[in-house]
Amino acid sequence: MDIRLPAAVATDDERRAVDRILGPPTTGWEGGERRRVDGHVATGGHAARARRHLLLPVLHALQDDIGWISDGAVGYVCERLVVPAAEVYGVATFYGLLSVAEAPPVAIHLCDDIVCRTAGAKELFTALADTVGPEGSSDGSRTWHRSNCLGQCDAAPAAFVQAAGEGRRTVIRADLDRLAAAPTDDREPAYAVIGDPVLTARFGAADPGDLDAYRASGGYVALRRALEIGPDAVVAIVEASGLRGRGGAAFPTGRKWRAVADTEAAERLVVCNADESEPGTFKDRMLMERDPFAVVEGLTIAGHATGATKGFIYVRGEYPDAENRLVAAIEEAEAAGLLGDDVLGSGFPFHIELRRGAGAYICGEETALFESIEGFRGEPRAKPPYPTTDGLFGRPTAVNNVETLAAAVAIVAEVPGAANTKLFCVSGHVEAPGVVEAPFGVTVRELLTVAGSARPPQAVLFGGAAGRFLAPAELDVPLGYEPPSPPLGSGAVVAFGPGVDMDDVVQRIAEFFRDESCGQCVPCREGTVRQDEALRRLVAGSDERGLIDEIARVMRDASICGLGQTAAEAVTSAIALGLVGGAR
């Protein structure tokens, strides 16, 4: 590619950060020393362009080590990866956790989403504004930003801190002192169970860093069985179990695996979607932190069942603890022959690569996730074609949610009740926010009760920001995949007690979508903005219900992806229930 490099030159530190991912440059053409032979021969072309997928890891390395991505650094990235400068810039500016403006070493992302803002986040903003300065400003060593839900709703208010050269950390129950100092807590998992635990069975019982403990508690039984009975039988078991995707779309997992297994493609892929960013949702994080081997085993089984020899885990950038657990688990599994060229001596080769998201809710959408891994802006693709035929790198791909994979492990291992259990994330105004494992048929009221909801809530948001507010009667509907159950979405249950300013909450949801739209399609890019504006006017007393409804219709009907299609659900349901504006 004929690339015009920016004039600025990378510093040694910046080069080191990039080289940490790519290794040192081997030729003058790649930004290394110009050797004599470089004047007479060079390689590039398809092979060079095929390394584009390393772009996001390289940008992460710069952000991690330097704290921001300069034009000089971009130039070096261009040289190393043969990616044009504008493309690098377009990708870098897509993601919330990457900065292309000079920034101090520490960036604090303070959650002000629906749960945290009702749990003290607002007070923290004032405090930070007083000590550091207004949002986005720097006191020389720190800057701070408001963040969308960080997936720590069980320990609100939460923050996520990027410290250049030191690493990333999560701060739970944040206050000014803890923001400055708090090391990562090794907190006890907040969870509860209705019935017998399956997915949470190892929480608190087995050391998540210990492969032997995992094996001693039933781990890798499923993979052994899968290798024994063969892919076809595994797919049949999963089909028969009725397992459906837990990432929100509830697509039958067996059918998805079958579709990939049935393709003729020589190369197929499996992906674990661990980008969990739906407001009010933190079950996947809990699984990765508490039972990481189950995720690794689940992806291995998915690979075996679909005929894939490679799997990716795309983990949310704000989940450093989960990422560390997964990295350790993958290493241990490799060392134990549970991953590698010959898994358990069966002749089945399977490798897992971990990729980190960079602060974009939309990258949880499966095709946006592909784009992100491939090194592009996380803009969803049109479907069809579907991932099962044209997925990651154009290969047939099975994408599965973390919980889906954990459930599949239990199902293949024939754990009793495995097919009938689900994780819910209960947070907001409840005594004991956390993950609740419960069998299908449970009601929202029961979930709230287990979490110690003292008083009946004013409102319940179900399924995440993309879900909807429940009518009072719906609290007692048995939950499942068929109506009258409301769609399960991500399994989030957020309770708002009396006294919560619901105008504020609903506007925050509208703001969330306005902020997280990828901006690609008109209905969503413009619709989320106009919905937000109309809602503000409605709260201020103007009757905008008709307009909001019209906006909702076009977003639902004509947006490319699920984000735009669901961006009006919560708002319109809140209006219908009289939760916002004068109608209350």
Partner: protein, 537 residues
């Protein structure tokens, strides 16, 4: 090539080929829209190998770039040929049925081992081997070149060396496999079509062909000499000898475009009579006794041009020529009238129809069809003929039709302008994307990319000469000396410098270049000059 004066392939084929070999061509800058087709090929999965002394913006797209020393193309090509033979990768069936002279070729290339070629060209043996194997093994391959091959004292030999490779591997005469010279100027191909070659009549009919000549003589009512005329370099020699005393120049600027410009100007000044017909008062026109102002062919007159894929297309008058300027045809017809021949007032279409009646390969190209089909590729023999996508398909017919294609063994012959301690740096010339030839047309719009005339140096040479970007440097060859600002270019290696030739008013590059021309084609050696570079105070 084998009797047809055009590239064998159409642009569409490069989009569907398996391997693109771009040899001595910076098409990205010089032929940007051809490069679009090439990029489609790459997007469709084609591999590309580039051969060029510089790692140009075109070569930057290649899977493999071979940075040979200037003027060592034949050594490289012969080594590729030898390796293909030695590795048993020749297309024996094709060689047997469609070619002649293989044994002599094999013998001639035998000394060009990979190691020997590596010494001659500077390119590592392994890379030469990879080129050979890739070309021979590719199901289809397009071999493209431009001035990097032809602006040498042995230009024709360079081309033969490449043709030989296509014959060895059967990469010609099939969809996706061909030999593609891309024309530097908008109607060089059309000039050839019309017989503006010393040895050809319109339609590439040989002047020595009695039948062909007779048809023209009948149509034109005059005798057509059977001996070839002079090509450009021969004309200049004739001027210097005093054998050529009067010159009629149409749309050329030899005072600035000829290698060794000082010498060219002197020759033009020595003429008894010089007529220049051009849209500008060029440097050549300034020397003329009579200047005939003409309209810009592409926007101010009617007619046809032929592109590098042999496609004849219509040009049309969008605006009238300014002031006293007139259509080229009108000027010529008027001139004929003054000389006593009344050719009437033919329209462009009538002129074209006469051509169609005399040139079989253009016979099917009526104006109506050219309009409707957006142009036609020759040969197009009648009005039902869709024109030819590619040439020489006959070589694959069973049995092959027409004459067999001959191998033409050629020998490496280094550039005439030798590198010595006094002239240690190899200067090569080329084009910039936003400029064209001597800049008379392109110099008039305001390109944000125009760098003007610079001397481009490798970072290493600049450092050792104590030159920084923007410094003024004096460049001296055995023929002349110019001053130009320095540009640092990482695509150059130590010992190799580059200048464009678009800015003769500022930096007259051709004062430096060598007027050593190829006896077969008449092109001059612009690409290889030995120079000394010094900091200018």
């Amino acid at each position: 090539m084998f009797g047809a004066g055009g590239g064998t392939s159409s642009y569409e084929e490069i989009e569907h080929t398996d391997l693109i070999v771009l040899w001595g061509s910076n098409a990205r800058a010089a032929h940007p829209i051809f490069f679009h087709h090439l990029l489609k090929g790459i997007d469709n999965g084609a591999r590309m190998i580039a051969i060029d002394p510089r790692r140009t913006e075109s070569a930057a797209w290649a899977d493999l770039w071979l940075g040979l020393d200037v003027g060592t193309d034949i050594a490289l090509a012969n080594a590729v040929g030898r390796e293909i033979i030695a590795a048993g990768l020749t297309n024996d069936d094709f060689i047997a049925r469609a070619t002649t002279g293989f044994d002599a070729y094999a013998e001639a290339v035998e000394p060009y081992t990979l190691e020997h070629a590596a010494e001659l060209t500077g390119v590592p043996a392994e890379a030469i081997r990879e080129l050979a194997h890739a070309y021979a093994k590719a199901p289809t391959a397009q071999l493209c070149w431009t001035l990097g091959i032809t602006e040498h004292h042995n230009a024709s030999d360079n081309v033969f060396a490449l043709i030989d490779l296509a014959l060895l591997t059967g990469h010609v005469g099939r969809y996706g496999s061909g030999l593609v010279p891309i024309r530097g100027q908008n109607n060089v191909q059309g000039g050839g079509d019309m017989g503006a070659l010393p040895n050809k009549l319109p339609g590439f009919q040989d002047v020595a062909d009695d039948d062909a000549r007779r048809r023209f003589e009948e149509a034109w009512g005059c005798t057509v000499p059977a001996e070839p005329g002079w090509h450009l370099s021969q004309m200049f020699e004739a001027m210097e000898r005093g054998d050529l005393r009067a010159l009629y120049v149409i749309g050329e600027n030899p005072a600035q475009s000829e290698a060794d410009g000082t010498r060219a100007r002197r020759a033009l000044e020595g003429l008894d009579h010089l007529v220049v017909q051009d849209i500008f008062l060029t440097a050549t026109a300034e020397l003329a006794d009579v200047v005939l102002p003409a309209g810009a062919a592409w926007a101010e007159s009617e007619g046809t041009v032929t592109s590098s894929e042999r496609r004849v297309q219509r040009v049309r008058r969008a605006v009238p020529p300014p002031g006293n300027a007139r259509d080229d045809t009108d000027i010529i017809v008027d001139l004929a009238r003054r000389l006593g021949h009344d050719w009437g007032h033919p329209s462009a279409e009538e002129v074209w129809d006469e051509l169609r009646s005399l040139s079989p390969i253009h016979a099917g190209m009526s104006y109506r069809r050219l309009e409707e089909l957006g142009g036609l590729r020759w040969p197009c023999r009648d009005e039902d003929d869709p024109g030819a996508l590619f040439l020489h398909g006959r070589l694959w017919e069973d049995p092959p039709r027409g004459p067999k294609a001959p191998f033409t063994p050629v020998e490496h012959d280094p550039p005439k302008d030798e590198l010595t301690d006094d002239f240690p740096i190899r200067l090569t010339t080329g084009r910039h994307l936003d400029s064209y030839n001597t800049g008379v047309q392109s110099g008039r719009y305001r390109s944000p990319r125009r760098t003007g005339g610079t001397i481009d140096l490798s970072p290493e040479d600049a450092a050792s000469l104590g030159l920084a970007a923007g410094d003024r440097a004096r460049i001296t060859s055995r023929r002349g000396s110019v001053v130009a600002p320095v540009r640092i270019d990482r695509s150059l290696r130590p010992g190799l410098a580059f200048m464009a030739f678009h800015y003769p008013e500022d930096v007259d590059t051709n004062r430096l270049t060598l007027d050593e021309w190829d006896p077969k084609s008449g092109t001059a050696e612009f690409k290889a000059t030995a120079v000394r570079i010094e900091k200018e105070a």
